[in-house]
């Protein structure tokens, strides 16, 4: 396959996401730019301008009308995708680390970094749309989630039942989300927590039905975890610290990305690199293939929702869109 190389950022990519149909790809990086691309040919649809700091996170709703971004300038913004207009700016007193729409697009959760002695927090907003795709937001809950150290990742489980939060010490916590009757407020209650990694959790992505999720960690493993019990279902071992892991749509594969941190590249031994995306069989935990390409660690991976390909964003500032060859679809794992 010949990947499409996107050169829309000048600093390390922090997160990339496909929309639900997989025709648009949204990328954010530490250079304050938010880009939207047509995934099939790499044409840039536009940029969302307004952030004044590194953009850490991006979320797109299921109808591809609203986009949410979280930035180190202590704001989260909601944009209209169609014309790049900023509809809302939410201000906080710490950097926004992760934003995520709920499964029904009704809520937006915003997770804050640890900052100046302030603990990580999660805000849940209710997003109200009017006809033209504009929105109003209501703040609902604001629990302190820093029990296990800084929170690094968060995502919504099925039916908006839980918010799963990953921490710097390798713990995942399961918060039950319950909105009030008027839907003007709600609560997040900690139900379970489990230490599933020995080091920082770097990414958390859900399966299509949101009944299980995959986490990646700096302890060189990726885990498949059940959302109800937080039990580890599968463990994928790598030889480098992982920055991201994703479940491949339509096939029983997972893909992980990582590599030594850029600051450590010169201090390590002969076999540098390991900047490949690695494919594992989801069930047998075997590595089944690798894709080279990035000149630095892979920071973020996103899988095309129809299973036709995947995209990766690296510390080198490039985004690469991959579409699988025919032999990928013809391959059968022999067991």
């Amino acid at each position: 396959m010949r990947p499409i190389l996107l050169k829309g950022h000048t600093r390390p990519i922090t997160q990339i996401k496909y929309n639900r149909e997989g025709d648009l790809l949204f990328t954010v990086a530490k250079d304050m730019v938010v880009n939207a691309w047509y995934a099939h040919n790499g044409e840039r649809l536009g940029t969302f301008d307004g952030h004044k700091g590194s953009v850490w996170s991006i979320a797109v709703d299921s109808s591809s009308t609203l986009l949410a971004t979280g930035s180190a300038d202590n704001t989260a913004k909601i944009w209209r995708i169609r014309d790049g207009k900023c509809l809302e700016t939410l201000e906080f007193n710490a950097a926004v680390r992760k934003v995520e729409f709920s499964t029904d697009d009704k809520y937006l959760s915003v997770m804050l970094d640890n900052h100046m002695g302030q603990k990580s927090e999660i805000f849940v907003y209710r997003v109200v749309r009017s006809g033209s795709g504009s929105s109003e937001v209501y703040r609902m809950v604001r629990p302190n989630v820093a029990e296990h150290g800084r929170a690094t990742v968060q995502a919504w489980a099925y039916y908006n039942k839980y918010i799963i939060v990953g921490h710097v010490d390798g713990t995942v916590c399961q918060y039950e989300f319950s909105p009030s009757d008027q839907q003007q407020s709600g609560s997040l209650k900690l139900l379970k927590s489990k230490k599933i990694h020995n080091d920082e959790i770097t990414d958390l992505q859900f399966s299509a039905d949101r009944s299980y999720f995959i986490t990646s960690s700096k302890d060189k493993t990726a885990n498949l975890v059940d959302v109800e019990t937080l039990d580890i279902l599968k463990i994928y071992k790598s030889d480098t610290s992982l920055n991201t892991a994703a479940l491949v749509a339509k096939k029983d594969y997972i893909v992980v990305g990582g590599g030594q941190a850029a600051s450590e590249v010169t201090t390590t031994g002969a076999r540098q690199g390991k900047f490949e995306a690695r494919f594992f069989h989801m069930i047998f935990e075997h590595e089944i293939g690798r894709v080279k390409g990035h000149f630095g660690p892979i920071n973020t991976l996103s899988v095309e929702p129809n299973g036709l390909g995947y995209s990766s964003g690296g510390e080198d500032g490039f985004v690469r869109i991959h579409y699988f060859d025919d032999d990928y679809f013809g391959y059968k794992y022999d067991y």
Binding site: M1, R2, P3, I4, L5, L6, K7, G8, E21, D23, L24, W37, Y38, N41, G42, E43, R44, L45, G46, T47, F48, D49, S63, S64, R82, D83, G84, R278, F279, H286, E287, I288, G289, R290, V291, K292, G293, R320, H322, F324, D325, D327, Y328, Y331, Y333, D334
Partner: protein, 285 residues
């Protein structure tokens, strides 16, 4: 036809308007004549086949394709911009059960074996390549002289022991003329009676001649089996028709059996022909 490329516009040597012929099944043939840089007239034939592929996409996806660009891309023309998107070189995803771990292990073991292999200088036995030997100029010439002196001395075991205690073979080999493999070791291999017949002649073999054309291998087996167990039966057949060529080789496990077979079968009347039986040529005893 209008030239769309500016490069074509500049050259006025277009001899005639390109001839376009569309044939059935949608192949368009464009023939044009040009004079190239060497002043020669060249005929350029281009065949273009256009094929319309209809692809059904989600309605919302189709709608999004028509969206106007915004932000930094505002008012930019449609289509990917080469400054922000490019197609990179080919990368491969080869899915296999064992991933690339194995290949890597092999790679590592190869490196290890290479690392453990000692590098030995042919001249001074130092731990470096011969080309980098600091004594290359001195030792190299000395060795050439001593090697030349050795040549007249017959085999010179004493002389060689004195002058080349270093690498036995390696130093002398580059001076020695090429010897074909079968002449090496004093041509001893040439004298060996059976040069590599693959062990099939370990068994005593007899040759049957004057077989009839209708003879098949089972017939020969039935004929020879009474004298002892057979190691091998070969019946010469025409490669196309499969008709017997009139002779066969039969190997026994013991030479007594073979001898008995020769005695009995030589002059034996078989299928209205008188058989001949003898030791096969390489098995003459």
């Amino acid at each position: 036809m209008v030239n769309t490329s500016w490069a074509d516009d500049q050259s006025e040597e277009v001899l005639n308007v390109p001839m376009v012929v569309s044939d059935q099944d949608g192949v368009k043939v464009i023939v044009e004549y040009k004079i190239n840089d060497d002043g020669r007239k060249v005929k350029i034939t281009r065949k273009i086949k256009t094929k319309t592929v209809q692809e059904k996409v989600n309605k919302s996806v189709a709608e999004r394709k028509k969206w106007a660009k915004f932000g930094e891309e505002k008012d930019q023309p449609a289509g990917p911009n080469s400054s922000t998107a490019s197609v990179t070189e080919q990368v491969f995803l080869k899915l296999s059960q064992w991933g690339e771990e194995k290949a890597e292990e092999e790679d590592a073991s190869l490196k290890e074996s290479l690392a453990s292999r000692q590098i030995l200088c042919r001249l001074c036995q130092g731990n470096h390549f011969t080309a980098k030997c600091p004594y290359k100029d001195k030792l190299g010439t000395i060795q050439e002289i001593t090697a030349a002196a050795q040549l007249p001395a017959k085999d010179g075991s004493a002389a060689s022991a004195a002058t080349s205690p270093m690498m036995p073979g390696v130093g002398g080999e580059k001076k020695r003329a090429y010897i074909p493999p079968h002449l090496r070791d004093g041509g001893s291999k040439l004298k060996s009676p059976e040069p590599s017949r693959g062990g099939r002649d370990e068994y005593p073999t007899i040759r049957l001649t004057n077989l009839s054309e209708d003879t098949k291998e089972p017939d020969v087996q039935a004929l020879c089996r009474p004298f002892g167990p057979l190691a091998r039966v070969f019946l010469a057949k025409h490669y196309q028709t499969g008709v017997c060529k009139g002779y066969a080789f039969v190997s026994y496990y013991s030479s007594e059996n073979a001898e008995a077979a020769i005695k009995k079968l030589n002059g034996y009347g078989y299928d209205s022909l008188i058989l001949g039986a003898e030791w096969s040529s390489s098995d003459k005893k």
